[in-house]
Amino acid sequence: MKLLIKNGHIIDAKTGLNKVSDILIDDGTVVQIENGIDSTGCETIEAKGMYVVPGLVDAHCHLREPGFEYKEDIESGTRSAAKGGFTSIACMPNTSPVLDNEAMISYVLNKAKADGIVNVYPIGAVSKGLKGEELSEIGELKFSGAVALSDDGRPVNSAALMKKAMQYASMFDITIISHCEDMDLVDEGLMNEGFYSSILGLKGNPAPAEEVMISRDLILAEYTKATIHIAHVTTELGVDLIRNAKRRGVNVTAETCPHYFSLTDQACEGFNTNAKVNPPLRTQKDVEAIIEGLRDGTIDIISTDHAPHHKDEKNVEFKLAANGMVGFETAFPLAITYLVKPGHLSIEDLVKKMCLNPSNMLGINKGSIELGTCADILIFDINEQYTVDISTLESKSKNSPFHGFKLYGQPQYTIVRGNPIVREKVLL
């Protein structure tokens, strides 16, 4: 089957392609990028006035399967991803059982092959059972298909274990994604420590809880020469620490998430549990620093940290509410609306941060549109505004603080291996 995308403005960060052109896809592969390709015998998508970019790559999400299928499963999670323009997603291992061995990685890969509609890449656990005590079988995880390692959801508390994990993982050339949080400093904090925690009477989780752990892992990475990736960076000092480490030549990449450049801790007002997330939403000053970090390249990646939770886990007292928010279906429009529209990033920059860089960090050879590669593509209209309605989310869970937000850049088409699974904003 041949698919022809006509007259779209193609932007690709890897090849530097930035022009209006047609793309011909044959049997799932990009075979021609030129103007005026003959459409005979092709299914045609008219993309005039729209941007055509690589399918998004998410380096950080929670698909909840196995173990928490009442929140999300691989089928619903990949459908939600597709709706949001993601064609490749890397899922965290904090499932039940934990993805800390070869059998579990194979399970997810097989399940994804059967039920998934986008490419799924499991991330293995750093420590057995995420307990932070003993290393998991990192070599076997790598060879069974884990694309990175992380105990995400919690930090590796022991600095000594983290150091060993870095040394050991380096041997297999696999990146450790660090969830940075000093639990002593978090001390049961429920939201960012600051004015809003003070007036809501909610226990504060101070920025240093994140920053102390970022510094620890940067120091260990410099010492071990390991490659690490700092997950969900949220604070001004956190950005600065990473900027400095990069200057020192540390092999570090960093990510932030859309909620950290579009919301502040003020969103917790009214005890809004949908704004409860870990790390917590910070202050306006931090939001500005995150944007600056994205702008100057300190922050390489925008990931979703898609964290679905059942309604019953959010419709409770703030203290009891689960941390996290769904993210697949709002991530790209938030980036367009809060980063591209105000001129902080170009579309090409955004394609780097949501396609090429996450793909490179995970080592999965995705995130670009070039001849001979698999046709994973996103087509969007930057000018069309829409209103977020959480009841229409494809995810099983609806825990989003963005209900009612007016955003731009909703995905019009998501194409996986040449197959348009989202057409005119409708998921097939």
């Binding site: 004015f195 009477g201 909610l202 226990k203 419709n315 703030f318 203290k319």
Partner: protein, 313 residues
């Protein structure tokens, strides 16, 4: 005048006019309280439920007596002897109470925001009787009532609140309420117990108790909880008393006619010396009486404002 909301969740959410209206109604209620026959029919046919997830002596009894003095049916539920022990959620418990025909649910809960969650899910009026570290609006109302009774107004008065401000719902409600009525509020306490950014509410933060008390019209001590010491927030109660405790000597820094308040229960010799507690400037016992009057006023105003909770939809 009617209160705007069906609930009283905090003084943050209500206007200065509403606060003044509650306080002036409480004046009438205090008159009733001081009469020989403490019984009125203001709440006849109404049911008031106190739902307490934390221990309490004075607040709970105060609400219960306020209800009974005005002829309401009153019942208590405490977390230790209810379905809460069986894992029932707050919303489910609230709906159950609501469906039995409660008009007002008075809730105390260790988690900030719990009354707000309850209020969104029941038809009954909800009164916050203390939620976590957030607010304790009826305590602040009775504090303000006590001050106004003595001083005539809050406007322009200098109020010093001393102690564990960070964990104090009493302090937060008083800051919201008193600043709305024009008082100049200063706070002081160990640096580990001052909430960050609180000065944005228009309060002054003093690092020494002496500065806070200087020329104050009102000095309020807050309870220091021993478990805060165990968490390392201050070294010992002895050191606390030395630097932040209020004794006769320190009280002399305040205005000569300054009054002393404390929400209770007091750690004698820690927040306040016994001489201060039992001294002439102390209105601590008067606060307790006023608490009943303020709660009578509030129950009356909330049940009066709308239709009662009719069980059948």
């Amino acid at each position: 005048m009617n209160l705007k909301s069906k609930d009283l969740l905090g003084l943050r959410d209500i206007s200065s006019e509403e606060i003044e209206y509650i306080l002036s109604t409480a004046k009438t209620m205090k008159f009733i309280l001081s009469s020989n026959n403490k019984k009125t029919a203001h709440l006849q046919g109404k049911s008031i439920i106190t739902l307490f997830y934390e221990n309490s002596t004075r607040t709970r009894l105060s609400f219960e007596l306020a209800s009974k003095y005005m002829g309401a049916s009153a019942a208590n539920i405490s977390a230790s002897s209810s379905s809460v022990q069986k894992g029932e959620t707050l919303i489910d418990t609230g709906k159950t109470i609501d469906r039995m025909g409660s008009d007002v649910i008075v809730i105390r809960h260790p988690m900030s925001g719990a009354p707000h969650l309850l209020a969104q899910n029941v038809k009954s009026s909800v009164i916050n009787a203390g939620d976590g570290m957030n607010e304790h609006p009826t305590q602040a109302l009775l504090d303000m009532f006590t001050i106004i009774e003595k001083k005539g107004t809050l406007k322009g008065l200098k109020v010093a609140i001393v102690g564990d401000i960070l964990h104090s719902r009493v302090a937060r409600s008083n800051i919201w309420g008193m600043t709305k009525l024009g008082a100049e509020v200063g706070i002081s306490g160990p640096a580990t117990l001052i909430p960050p950014g609180i000065e944005r509410l228009g309060v002054k933060v003093f690092s020494t108790v002496q500065e806070a008390i200087l020329d104050a019209d009102v000095v309020m001590g807050l309870r220091i909880q021993l478990e805060r010491q165990k968490k390392g927030l201050f070294p010992t109660t002895r050191e606390y008393a030395r630097f932040f405790g209020l004794d006769d000597k320190r009280l002399k820094l305040a205005k000569e006619d300054a009054i002393v308040l404390h929400p209770g229960p007091i750690n004698r010799g820690v927040e306040l010396s016994s001489a201060v507690i039992d001294g002439e400037q102390s209105l601590i016992n008067e606060q307790v009486t006023n608490g009943v009057a303020v709660r009578m006023a509030l129950l009356y105003l909330l049940t009066r404002r709308g239709s009662s909770n009719e069980i059948i939809d």
